[in-house]
Every structure is written in structure tokens, then in C-alpha cells.
């Protein structure tokens, strides 16, 4: 039986609050945790089928042009140059494979061949020394060097922003730059492909198996039913594994050709070249307000880039239309077509850099208007979505601001440059956090066995987000079982297709599908108990209705299996759905060297129902640390002549290390959002990053008076503004 729900209306009944088991929301340890801390969880490259060969990708050494000839590779089993090899990774949720054909080079570092050998060492050496002849072409690689496209659907204007800027008592009109950024998940992309007749099984690092399966089938030119994907453990994604990438397609082609299993693991340098980068952005923000800080105008004018023909463009302004009220508004979204590596989704596409810059602009406006930054934001929270007048599904920004200010000790903040400890200027900064909320179609199967064990199966992934644990808790709660009686099986396209991990929609979408499957099982138990499902209490393997209490083992004949199927519905149109929060940071800035140290950082977040307080907190810690990276350390440098990634390893591309991150503090605001399905839970994986960097940058200004508008705020940018 399948229970289906399209989310067309609100759920005010708080069903999950009335369940008896009491495990949902609890800070339980991760179900798969013992495997991870002992090194027994096996990731993409960690199966060892018999007779496996090793493949290493060969990369283009020109920014654009044609591959005329690929030489031999002594010591190799094969050099694969197949027209099905893809140019770059598929975008998230794409149903087709990306462009293919390795004879055409679109950017430096593109995978143009695969060398396969008996050992990894032999394959690597052969790949490094293969002779290639090209017909290179000259192409633009700098965003400002070309006339950008202005996609009509991405522009919007209401009122007259120019006039509002002229009439306003206080304005801000500044330009910020953010560099290309890399997801840099710790597990490099890898795949092991193996054929059985016409069926291929690919074990890979992937976030969204159901769409990845479509992409893979399309890339290989075979039916979807002939493709099985496995991703039981994924060593981080952050967007980089949303779509299939060159290594997985090449592994499948090679395994077919050699008729044996083939593993292809990218080197870290290849990940920097081949995983989607977050586009660099140029953002002009214009703000106009009256003397009381009430906004009259908001302008957000952005330039991003991508390869010609690539549909994705960083949705920088995604939260701008609804975060603050103003009568006069304008959004300009320009895309330069250049030949750097493909741009795509990196954790919180859009808001990660868009909210960060916008919240820096708000800090500048607060300073210009002489109004406390928290107060400025409180004065501009709209009652409904501006322009469309849609109601918000829930709105917790004001509460997050007030709660955060109190907890962080915001009132102790001093004017800029007035707090000095030895060589260090000390300052405090804050920012709002906001991220759009989405649901995506998702299915799950739940089986309740007579012995009181339940099994959850879905092709959902756990990329560190806690999926195993929260889906187990949900089933345990709904079916009245101790959490350790639920087994969760993920990451296999043989299971019902799920939303996948991306866009912060994974937990709520897959969680609702598990909820629905369990609801169906409860209904069947209720029928046996001769009661309404809503009157049924399940707890520790016992079913209770009125004064009748029976063990599940008596009520189930063998097992009950049900599938849950969730689809987003009208509420995503009728209501503006978002998650909210506030970020707070205290930094020290060295007055001589411009080094910045984050001394304290705190986030207050509202994301609907919290499914596991421990794993939810971890999601936020991760997001906030990404924010530290955006603010202080992360920049992919592109060579100005050929666009290649110069900082293409973890020594040159600085993700925050232990010493960059203080003891972070996270608080959740209790919330139930009625418009996002019966779970009443929203996304959380990305909220923590949205605006976090702005709190750090605003704290830098409060500390030493320097506004860094060219991110990241490395020592060179700081000392340029110091005496």
C-alpha cells in the first residue's frame, strides 16, 4: 500500500507531538556512528570487486579547442576516449546527461580521456605522460571581459529605485566581490563500475540517486532500469555530488570495454578542476532609508559567470525579494559566458554569498543612519512577502534577532575601534540568516516485522546530514519502537526514489515520506485494533486504544509493508516558505598584520521541527564554519590568461582548519511550520552558512573600522585599510 500526500494545505494538528515513544527530536547518537568512528563505513572507492582495474582521468591542457590526437600509454591496459564522456558534472536534479564528447575542450582541466591499468601507480604515471595534440582556441576567461547576458526572467523591478535613492535621507551604494569557491568535500569523487550482462552497477559519491540514475542512463545510452547506483556512505557533498561527474561515466565505459570492474578516483587537484565551482560574484547593493531606518529602496545587481550554454547561474538574489520591506526594488542578474570550469551549486547556492553581501550592506546602512544594526533589521521586517503579498508560512527573524542579541551580549558592543587588547582590535558583528525552503517529491518504504523490528528503505543519501538517524527516529516514533529496533537502508537505487540530499530539502522531504509510510502501517494496525488511527497509541512494541493494549506481535501476521509518497503542492505557491535565524560574531583583528581571529560565534536558528537535536546542531556548526571560510580564507584563484584553477589543492585553497574555528554556539527556536507537510520540519543544512560570513565581516568593521568588500578578508585586505 502506498500512502500519498501532496502538500496543498496546512497541518496544524501537530501529530508528531502526540506520539508516545518520545525519541523524535532527541539528541541520539548517529545510527551509523560506530562504523564511521572505527573506519568500517565504506565510501565510494572502498569496495574491492575481484579483478578490479584502476583508471585515472587525463585532463585537457588548453582552455578551449579540439583534441586532435591522443597518444599511447605504455604500461596501460587501455586509453579510453569515448564520445559519451561528459564535459562537466550534471547539475542537481537534471534528468539528462551534460554535454559529452571528449574531442571538444571547453575549459582547462576538462577530462578528455581515461587511462586504465592494473595498478593505480601504473595508471597515474601513464595518464601523466600521455602525449596529446590540440587545436587550441582563444576564449574569454574573465567575467568583466565580455558583455554579459541578462536573462529576462531573472530581472525584476518595482517602483522607481533611482528616485528612492535620490529622495532618501540615508543611502548605501557599494560593490562587493566574492571569488569562486569550492565545496571541497573531504572525500574526492570516485566511482567503481561493474557490468553484469547489460546491467551496470556504479558505486559512487553521489547526493541524489534517483536523478543521478537518469543522468547516468542518458550518458551511457542505456535504459534507466539497466543502471543501479550505490552510495551507502558519502564523504561530504555540499553540492559537488548533486550530479554525476566525469569519473563515474568514464568508469562505466571502461568497465564495459575491459569487461572487468574499474575504479576511477579523482585526485584532489582534479576535484578542483572538475567539481562545480560556486561562481565568483560582483554584487552592487543599493539601499535607501529614511532617518528612522525604514527602507524605501532595495537594489541588488549581480554579475556571475558560467560556461556558454550552461543553464545554472548562481541565484545570488534568491532571498533579496522577501527579506526586507521596501516600496522600490530592483534586481539585475547578469551572466558572463566564460571558459572557467563549470559553475554550479555549492552549499546554499545564492544565499551563501548573496545574503552575506546583503547583510554587510545592511551593516553599512545602520552605520550611516546611526541606528543599531539589530534595530535596523527589526524595523524592516515585512508582514507579508513584498510585491506578491503572499503570507509567510512562518516568520522567526524578529525572534531570532532579539533572542540572539540577548544571548550574545550585544548590548556590550562598543563603537568601532574602541576596544583594544594588546595588538588586537576587538569587535562584534551580527547578521540575519535566511534561506528559502523547499520540498521535493520523495518516496520511502517501511516494513514492520512481527518481532517489532522496522526497516526503512529509500534511495535517499546520508552525506553527513544525519539521514540514517533521523529517518530511524521518525519510524521509531511513529511505530512506537525503541530507536535501536529500526534499521535504515539508504543509498541504493533498488529502493524507492527519494528527494536526495540537496537544497536543504532532504530531511523534510524524505522524512515526510517515511512519516506517510508509517501512517499507513498505523492505519492497518488500527483496523486490527478496531480503532481510528488517530486514537492508536504505539509505544515500546505495544499498541493501545482506549483500555485495550496488545503487543504488536499479536497484531501483525509476518510483516506490514507500506510506501510513503510525498509531493510538494499548493503551499509552495500560496506561502513564502523560508528558514530564519541570526548570526553573531566577536573577532580580534591584529592592528599590525591584519590577521583576523574569530573569538566567539553564535547562531540562532528556526527551522520548524528539529528531528535530532544533536545532528541538527552539527549541521549548523558546519554552515557557520563555511561562513568563516567565505569571510576570511576561501578563494579559488583563476589564472587571468587561461582561466585554470591556480589554487587547486588543500594547501592553496584554505578551508577553515581547527584553529580558525572557536567553540561555536547554536540555539534553536521552537517552531512548527504548518505549510511544509505533516513533519512540520524545514531545511537546515544550509541556513547556518547564509549570512554567517557577514557577521564576521561586520565584526571586523566594528573592531578596526575596515570594510572589506573584496572577499575573503585576508591580511592584505585588512592592512590596506589600517593606518
Amino acid at each position: 500500500m502506498t500512502r500519498h500526500l501532496r502538500v496543498d494545505g496546512p497541518n496544524h494538528d501537530d501529530r508528531l507531538d502526540h506520539m508516545a515513544q518520545g525519541v523524535l527530536g532527541q539528541p541520539l547518537n548517529r545510527l551509523e556512528g560506530p562504523l564511521k568512528v572505527t573506519g568500517r563505513a565504506t565510501y565510494a572507492a572502498e569496495a574491492r570487486p575481484r579483478n578490479m582495474a584502476y583508471g585515472v582521468l587525463v585532463q585537457a591542457e588548453i582552455p578551449a579547442g579540439k583534441v586532435l590526437e591522443i597518444g599511447d600509454a605504455p604500461g596501460a591496459l587501455a586509453v579510453i576516449q569515448d564520445k559519451r564522456m561528459i564535459h562537466y558534472a550534471a547539475q542537481g536534479q537534471a534528468e539528462k546527461a551534460p554535454p559529452s564528447g571528449p574531442e571538444r575542450v571547453e575549459y582547462m582541466g576538462q577530462a578528455i580521456a581515461l587511462v586504465v591499468a592494473e595498478t593505480f601507480e601504473a595508471a597515474r604515471h601513464a595518464a601523466q605522460n600521455i602525449a596529446i595534440r590540440y587545436a587550441p582556441e582563444t576564449v574569454p576567461v574573465i567575467p568583466e571581459s565580455v558583455t554579459p547576458e541578462l536573462p529576462p526572467k531573472k530581472q525584476s523591478a518595482t517602483g522607481d529605485l533611482d528616485q528612492a535613492m535620490r529622495d532618501a535621507a540615508v543611502t548605501v551604494d557599494q560593490v562587493w566581490h566574492t571569488p569562486s569557491q569550492m565545496s571541497a568535500a573531504m572525500e574526492p569523487h570516485a566511482a567503481i563500475a561493474e557490468w553484469d550482462g547489460g546491467h551496470v552497477t556504479v558505486r559512487a559519491g553521489l547526493q541524489m540517486l534517483s536523478s543521478n540514475r537518469k543522468q547516468m542512463a542518458d550518458a551511457l545510452g542505456i535504459r534507466e532500469s539497466k543502471v543501479r547506483l550505490l552510495a551507502p556512505y558519502v564523504g561530504g557533498g555540499f553540492g559537488s555530488k548533486l550530479g554525476i561527474n566525469a569519473e563515474a561515466v568514464a568508469a562505466a565505459i571502461a568497465a564495459r570495454e575491459l569487461n572487468r570492474p574499474v575504479m576511477v578516483a579523482m585526485t584532489r587537484q582534479q576535484v578542483f578542476d572538475l567539481a562545480h565551482r560556486r561562481s565568483e560574484t560582483r554584487q552592487r547593493v543599493r539601499l535607501a532609508c529614511d532617518a528612522n531606518g525604514v527602507l524605501s529602496g532595495i537594489g541588488h545587481d549581480v554579475l556571475v559567470s558560467n560556461l556558454p550554454g550552461s543553464e545554472f547561474s548562481e541565484p545570488v538574489t534568491q532571498a533579496t525579494p522577501f527579506t526586507y520591506q521596501a516600496a522600490h526594488r530592483q534586481i539585475v542578474h547578469a551572466v558572463s559566458r566564460i571558459h572557467r570550469g563549470c559553475a554550479g551549486s555549492v552549499r546554499a547556492p545564492g544565499e551563501a554569498v548573496g545574503v552575506t553581501v546583503f547583510e554587510c550592506a545592511m551593516d553599512e546602512l545602520a552605520e550611516a543612519a546611526g541606528i543599531d544594526p539589530v534595530e535596523l533589521r527589526l524595523r524592516n521586517i515585512p508582514d507579508a512577502e513584498p510585491v506578491t503579498d503572499r503570507p509567510f508560512s512562518s516568520h522567526k527573524l524578529a525572534e531570532a534577532l532579539r533572542d540572539g542579541a540577548e544571548r550574545f551580549g550585544w548590548s556590550a558592543r562598543k563603537p568601532s575601534g574602541q576596544r583594544i587588547e594588546g595588538e588586537w582590535f576587538i569587535g562584534m558583528g551580527m547578521a540575519a540568516a535566511v534561506r528559502v525552503n523547499m520540498l521535493v517529491e520523495s518516496r520511502a518504504r517501511v516494513t514492520l516485522h512481527q518481532d517489532g523490528r522496522a526497516i526503512v528503505e529509500t534511495d535517499m543519501t546520508d552525506i553527513g546530514t544525519g539521514t540514517y538517524t533521523i529517518l530511524g527516529q521518525l519510524a521509531a516514533e511513529m511505530l512506537g519502537l525503541p530507536a535501536d529496533r529500526v534499521e535504515v537502508r539508504l543509498g541504493d537505487t533498488d529502493f524507492p526514489p527519494a528527494a536526495g540530499s540537496g537544497g536543504s530539502f532532504g530531511a523534510a522531504s524524505s522524512g515526510n515520506s517515511v512519516y506517510l509510510a508509517c501512517e499507513e502501517i498505523r492505519s492497518q494496525i488500527a483496523r486490527t485494533m478496531r480503532c481510528d488511527e488517530t486514537d492508536l497509541t504505539l509505544h515500546d512494541g505495544m499498541a493501545r486504544a482506549g483500555n485495550v493494549s496488545r503487543p504488536l506481535s499479536e497484531l501483525i501476521d509476518g510483516q506490514i509493508t507500506a510506501e510513503g509518497h510525498l509531493q510538494p503542492g499548493k503551499t509552495e505557491k500560496t506561502h513564502r516558505q523560508a528558514t530564519w535565524g541570526s548570526h553573531w560574531a566577536e573577532v580580534a583583528v591584529n592592528r599590525w598584520t591584519g590577521e583576523v581571529r574569530v573569538r566567539r560565534m553564535m547562531g540562532v536558528f528556526a527551522c520548524g521541527r528539529v528531528l535530532n537535536e544533536k545532528t541538527a546542531r552539527s549541521q549548523c556548526l558546519g554552515g557557520m564554519s563555511f561562513g568563516i571560510g567565505i569571510a576570511l580564507t576561501e578563494a579559488m584563484e583563476h589564472d587571468p590568461r587561461d582561466g585554470h584553477v591556480v589554487s587547486r589543492d588543500l594547501a592553496e585553497y584554505h578551508i577553515p582548519c581547527h584553529a580558525d574555528v572557536p567553540e561555536l554556539e547554536v540555539h534553536f527556536l521552537p517552531e512548527r511550520d504548518a505549510y511544509v507537510g505533516p513533519l512540520q520540519a524545514k531545511g537546515l543544512g544550509e541556513l547556518g552558512i547564509c549570512g554567517a560570513g557577514a557577521a564576521v565581516l561586520n565584526a571586523i568593521h566594528n573592531a578596526c573600522g575596515v570594510r572589506v568588500r573584496q572577499l575573503p578578508a585576508t591580511p592584505d585586505k585588512i592592512i590596506a585599510g589600517l593606518d
Binding site: 604515471h125 591584519g594 583563476h638
Partner: protein, 322 residues
Amino acid sequence: MREFTYLRAASLADLPASATIIAGGTNLLDLMKHEVMAPDALVDITRLDLNRVESEDDGLRIGALVRNSDLAAHPVIRRDYPVLSRALLAGASGQLRNMATTGGNLMQRTRCPYFYDRRMACNKRDPGAGCAAIGGVTRNHAILGASDHCIATYPGDMAVALRALDAVVNIDGPAPRQVPLADFHLLPDDTPEIETVLRPGEIITGVTLPAPVGGQHRYRKVRDRASYAFALVSVAAVVGMEDGRISQAALAFGGVAAKPWRDPEVEAVLAGQEPSDALFAEAAEILLRPAKAWGENQFKIPLLRRSLIATLRDATGMEAKP
């Protein structure tokens, strides 16, 4: 990585002349994986008896195989040469310091990303090919002593402290010799592929430190993240004070040239003077007179100036004053 013959040396006499020496391997294997280095033979010297720290005359002799972590924690180094402990602890990571050796660290090659990338022209890797770094991303390149042929820096920390300490490199080979660290690394000129005075068939057996000079020891490293990153600039300082005046100052600088940089004129202007911001500015002015930027690394000029001033203020006790 190209195939190679792996050999193990049982004694110094045992060393084959043509093999590339491997000890900690932290930089060599890194470069071999990229085939930036591709030796035909590797000789593993980790079993040689070169891992002791011993008193010698008034100073200290440090074996070439002494690991960075052991050296940093050595009680005599901590007590008498703390600038060296500090420099070592500011470098790399706990794991890498457990592997990297004193000799190997002196032989560490540049982090120039164009040197590391075989797609790019590099005179150091391929003499005469040109320098792709010039006109490229130069954020972490040299501002002192560079040439039109190469703008790479020596990236290490340990050697910067050794330079301030007047260390001497002990070399074994057909003709054993001692070379002051000051002369060990070479500026690029038109032969950037020649990085040190070490000749084929020679091996570093250790480093000798002269008698300790006391004073205030500082190692200030400025980098793009709080740890586990190479220096943008660094300053090693050993500063003596007498009667409110600077009696002597030994100052070496990292991240700014193809070798640990030291300028006697900078030290001369400080000697005998009362510490003051004006004096330190004058010293920085002298230090940076020959500085030249190559695009993006322009910031290193003011950053080095500020880092020197801050280090001197700290070492002379000025920073503590209100």
C-alpha cells in the same frame, strides 16, 4: 609518479652518488606524485645515525634526521634557541612535523603553483621554458631577490630561524665541508633550477648552532589561516637589550625571497639605539629598499614592514607599554 629503484643506505659510506635522498619524504613524495621530480633511484637514509642533538663546543649539533617535532620539543632548543622551536611549531602540522627532518626541511622546494603544475612553463623545472608565474597569480611570490626568470619563494619556517641564529650546514661528500646557512640557498638569477650549493654526491649531515646569544626570541608568521598554512611573510628575531638600548638584533625573514632573507644594514641601524617607532620604521625602510612586487604580491611590502615593526615592538617590550 615515475618508477624508481628503491635503495636503503646502511651508512654514509654506502650512499650511491646518483640516487636522490629520501628521509621524511613530505615534500619529495608530494612532488614525485606530480612528476615535478622524477628520480631514477631513491636512497632511504632513515636508518643512518643522524638523529641526535649533541653539544658541540659552546653550541649544538643537530643531526640531519632529527624530526621537526623532536627538535621543537628538545629541552635545549626550547631553553637556548626558542626562536627555532617557535618557527618549527609554526610550520605544517603535527603529523608533518613528525615526519619532516632537519636536512630535508632545508631542501624543501618552493610552493609556487606554477612550479607544481606541469602544464605551466617554469624555469626551475625546465630551464629556459619561461616563467608562467610572472603575469599569473602571484599572491605568494617573492618581493626580494627575485629575477625575471623566477619569482618563487623558499617556503619553510625552520630555516628562517636558523638564519637568524647564524647556523652552519654540515655537508658530507667527496670533500666534507661546512656552509653557513646564509650561503646555502641561492637566489634565482638566471639559474633558478639551482637552489642550493649542495652538489651531486653530497649530503647534509646536520646543522650546527653557535653558542646561544640570549635575548628575546620571536617568530612571527602571518598566513591566510590560523594554522596549517605557508607564510605570507614571517620574521625571526633575536633581540638583545642593555640599559634600555638594543644591544644586538638578528632578523631573518621568510616568505619573501628564494632564501631566508637577512640584511645586515637593518640590524646595524638598530644596534645601540633606544627602541622607538621611528627607529623601527627606519629599519623597515632599509629592509624594503630593494623590494619589488610582481602584481598581486604588492601587499607583501607593507605587510613585511608592519610585521617587522610589530615584532620589534614586541621583542623590545614596547608593545606592553600603554
